[in-house]
Symmetry: C3
């Protein structure tokens, strides 16, 4: 197992592992927030989820959309759209021989931007808070992609 231990001993790779895990846990939190709003607002989408509220018409009224549930779901989808590129490009970036301080700067700004994005979406904060936090995370990913292509390009 020597090789694997050496990979996780590398500081840039450890930084990637730490921030990737944090931002994925943040994304997973969106599922819990969705479930929380579905239950407190009684807004479900599957008939089997409302069976405990009674049979027939009395349960059917809980099959509805709720503005807060939909808002969290949009935030969750936006996370997927932005965190998937970070995971893939960030891993390759961490293996591209970047120096530690530059890598940390990228990872920290990205994770900070995505946490800000979630807060801006859920509170919600007035624009351009959400828009700007999205742009910052996007720009960090582009910057890492540039480094990966400069180092590894093999078409």
């Amino acid at each position: 197992m020597a090789k694997l231990t050496q990979l996780i001993d590398n500081e840039v790779f450890r930084a990637y592992a730490t921030y990737a895990t944090i931002v994925l846990l943040k994304m997973m939190l969106m599922s819990l927030i969705t479930a929380y709003f579905r239950i407190t607002r009684k807004a479900f989408v599957n008939p089997e989820d409302t069976a405990s509220f009674g049979k027939g018409e009395s349960a059917k009224k809980y099959l509805r959309t709720d503005a807060d549930v939909e808002r969290v779901r949009r935030g969750h989808l936006n996370d997927l759209e932005n965190i998937v590129p970070f995971l893939g490009i960030g891993l390759l970036y961490a293996l591209s021989g970047s120096d530690l301080s530059t890598a940390l700067l990228h990872f920290r700004i990205f994770v900070g931007a995505r946490i800000t994005h979630t807060l801006a979406y859920l509170i919600p904060l007035p624009q351009p808070a959400r828009g700007l936090s999205w742009v910052v995370g996007y720009a960090v990913t582009i910057s890492m992609a540039y480094k990966v292509l400069k180092t590894a390009l093999y078409l």
Copy 2:
């Protein structure tokens, strides 16, 4: 290529490769099931997809939502939301020097939980079958994330 071969020779990494591939193939199956229901139920979303049913109004009636299609699509999105964290955190976990039996336990339970989740969603089984299978997969991912952060934490 010595280093790469050594990585794939590691048993924990091979176990990750096996279970990650299986659960991704399961997720890809959702696309086929969606296509199957779209075609058999004649429920499409893009006008160009209904062109073979004729022109104008005769084709337009197939631009509609179908309960079964939407159910599969929700299962597919739930897969994305849960399998993306497993892919990222599981890879880092496999590189964190976990022992083989513990790693296998994590991977097997996660993949079993996601297959159960899909069956519970598509049949559908009464709750809490789907809810519990979701929780089990979620808990396994959190457990791996804890191990990754304990091993690799570098903020």
Copy 3:
């Protein structure tokens, strides 16, 4: 950092890094296209996004769906559903000791198929252009999954 540099020096891994980054950048482009259509068509989903158009009813009319916005969003989701499996299975495939020309063939066809899929979705081209490009990307991923399981299988 010797080990990391050796990984990125491997030609198959460099090819994976290149094509994975390209296809992720293509996926990220979908966000920009969505934003472009939302702004030009004035079709938003969050009340805070329309605040600059005035208060109350005058802004509310921009909270609506637009056919072109929805079309880009469907293309984006289809990207997620197909590029996530490519990222995971492709990484494992690149570490499975495939020879360079076979690996390049897989990566090039997949990325070409996904670019074609996006063009077919957005222009839109008549079917079966979009369907075929989807099938080709799907088949390439299955082919890589077969190689991964053949090399690494550890249940």
